[in-house]
């Protein structure tokens, strides 16, 4: 089995009596992984530990097989982008990225910088000083600086702050491309709908602890104390509702004012199997079936509430 890109093992980090990370363990493989959690949950601290900017108070962090804090070779293979870092405002965009390239000992810094700047659509503005950039532009130039040296692992903390819609779309495409090339990308973001379309796996931290990990559908399935809410729009709502209530896989059924039916079930797989047949047997036309709490947003909400 190949070594995972990131292995965090029983890691804790405290600052005096403030425990930012509390006995967390997980592995991150190649591809895009999302890191989520409410404010103050410890995401930024975790990213610092993984990026090598801080040492754990307990436990170990291994990145690309080495210690990110002390191992220079590992450092060269990581790219970090943090929204909290200030930029060198006196430099222009091109110089900033070239500087980052040179610091990572990239052979042809200028060419690498040019490629990275093009990839983030900053070619036009690269000649201007960073101080003149809007926030979204600063983010893009920082992103270019983070991957100019072609790192295997990219750690991105809220990379899309201030980015306008077009750049958000381009950014998703860029990350998918980088991941497809075999890289590992760890993205922390508050915009769950974007993380949902970006990452196949998520890590969710709450109050310094790892609350859940995996594909969000799988996480949802693991939250079995919560019944699934499924909305059904059909040609005969009350008849369907009456039939659904008789199934012992359905916990309860509500009929809304607009005639939509919402069923609650703790055995949603069984309902998914039996619903079309039930409708057919009753000659009811189904025009919509929607899980209401299967999204990453719902999963997040449930996990944070616990």
């Amino acid at each position: 089995m190949t070594e995972p890109a990131i292995r965090v093992d029983a890691v804790s980090k405290w600052y005096g009596s403030l425990v930012a990370v509390n006995d967390v363990s997980f592995e991150v493989q190649t591809g895009i992984t999302g890191l989520l959690g409410p404010n103050g949950a410890g995401k930024t601290t975790l990213l610092k530990l993984i990026g090598g900017a801080a040492a754990p108070s307990q436990g170990s962090v291994r990145v690309l097989g080495g210690d990110p804090r002390t191992n220079r070779a590992v450092h060269r293979r990581i790219g970090v982008m943090s929204e909290h870092e200030a930029t060198y405002d006196l430099l222009n965009g091109r110089r900033l990225v070239e500087l980052a390239a040179r610091l990572h000992e990239v052979p042809d810094a200028r060419a690498a910088a040019r490629a990275a700047i093009d990839a983030v659509d900053m070619a036009e503005a690269a000649g201007r000083r960073v101080a003149t950039y809007s926030r979204g532009m600063k983010q893009r130039i920082k992103l270019a600086a983070a991957f100019v040296h072609d790192p295997e692992l990219l750690i991105l903390d809220e990379p899309l702050t201030g980015a306008d819609p077009r750049h958000r779309v381009e950014f998703q495409e860029l990350l998918h491309r980088l991941a497809a090339e075999g890289r590992t990308i760890l993205v922390s973001s508050h915009i769950l709908e974007e993380v949902e379309s970006l990452a196949s796996r998520v890590l969710l931290v709450v109050s310094g602890k790892l609350a859940a990990e995996g594909d969000h559908h799988a996480i949802r399935a693991a939250l079995d104390e919560r019944p699934y809410h499924v909305q059904v729009v059909c040609s005969a709502p009350r008849r369907l509702a009456a039939a659904l209530v008789e199934l012992d896989t359905v916990d309860s059924v509500q009929v809304g004012e607009d005639g939509d039916v919402v069923l609650l079930s703790r055995n949603v797989a069984a309902v998914q199997q039996s619903l079309p047949a039930l409708a057919r047997d009753l000659s009811i036309r189904l025009t919509r079936v929607e899980p209401l709490d299967d999204s990453l947003e719902s999963v997040f909400e449930y996990l944070v509430e616990r």
Binding site: L36, G37, P38, N39, S134, R135, G136, M137, T161, G162, A163, D164, P165, R166, H167, R168, V169, H190, I191, L192, E193, A269, Q272, Q273, L275, P276, A277, A279, R280, R285, L286, T287, R288, V289, E290, P291, D294, E297, F300, E301, V304
Partner: protein, 299 residues
């Protein structure tokens, strides 16, 4: 009609921030969208009378914005950046802001108390703002924009920087501000999902020009294409659909069926039964606002 721009132009030396734009903002929740530097902030500053147009007019409630300061008493503004004093309580701060908006002291005090209740701040309103959580601060920011009962409130990225829980709360509060309080909003954001959920209309600016104006309902209306998502036996489903003369294609986890009306839904249902595929989702495709920006170089 609340705001009107007529030939509105603003130049800063050689830079044209707004180029002869014409548009109207109605009584609704309007999304003001566009790339950074498109002229959105400039437009807002012109309507608030903070800057003067180089050419053209910006009218608020029928009056030219820059000519009188008084018209600002009917407008509210919730900026994106931090703007709250740390050492005042929300109650005192809000009472003060109400007075600065022209409400006499006694009215200001009661209006401030009411507004704090509406945005969901209770005992904490007597504590200094410096100790508030981010969510509470956003509520105070919104409250100061509402306290004087404005006709229109400008909201600049109100959910920026909030964690998912906070964002949900803020969006719900904004929706409530319009639906329950009846206050019109001009809402600037980069997150299309939020705009779709809250806005009735959108106005899109790019490089100082209006590139799109329209209703969200129209842009996100359902099409006749239907997505069917099953948890297993996807191939069997496609075969069963084909047997019932329904053409479908596969896109990742989705089976996409075009031109679905009336009894075609029944054929899909029957194909599901025949194939034994467990149905997770059956839903029509909708337009999204992101499509406006997906094309090369924007809309």
């Amino acid at each position: 009609m609340l705001l009107r721009a007529r030939g509105l132009t603003k130049r800063y030396g050689k830079i044209v921030a707004l180029d002869r734009v014409d548009f109207e903002i109605e009584e609704a929740v309007t999304g003001l969208l566009g790339p950074n530097g498109a002229g959105k902030s400039t437009a807002i500053k012109l309507f608030l009378g903070l800057i003067e147009p180089t050419e053209g007019t910006a009218e608020v409630l029928g009056e030219t914005a820059a000519s009188t300061v008084a018209v600002r008493s009917r407008l509210g503004y919730m900026p994106e950046h931090d703007c709250l004093p740390q050492n005042l309580s929300a109650a005192e701060f809000l009472t003060h802001m109400a007075e600065v908006s022209g409400l006499p002291p006694a009215h200001a005090r009661s209006r401030a108390a009411e507004t704090l209740r509406h945005v969901g701040l209770f005992e904490e309103r007597y504590r200094p703002i410096g100790g508030y959580s981010t969510g509470m601060r956003q509520r105070v920011k919104l409250a100061q924009a509402l306290v004087h009962d404005p006709v229109l409130v400008f909201l600049d990225e109100p959910a920026a920087g909030l964690d998912p829980g906070g964002r949900e709360e803020m969006l719900a509060l904004i929706r409530k501000t319009n639906r329950e309080f009846g206050i019109n909003l001009l809402f600037s954001s980069h997150i299309m999902g939020d705009v779709e959920r809250i806005c009735d209309r959108i106005l899109v600016l790019d490089a100082g020009r209006v590139v799109h104006e329209g209703e969200v309902a129209t842009l996100t209306r359902e099409t006749e294409t239907v997505y069917v998502e099953v948890t297993a036996r996807q191939d069997e489903l496609v075969a069963a659909l084909r047997e019932r003369r329904v053409e479908a294609r596969v896109e990742g986890r989705m089976v996409v069926v075009p031109d679905v009306v009336d009894e075609r839904y029944d054929r899909i249902r029957d194909a599901l039964v025949a194939s034994g595929a467990p149905l997770r989702r059956l839903a029509p495709q909708r337009g999204t606002l992101t499509e406006l920006f997906r094309q090369r170089g924007g809309p």
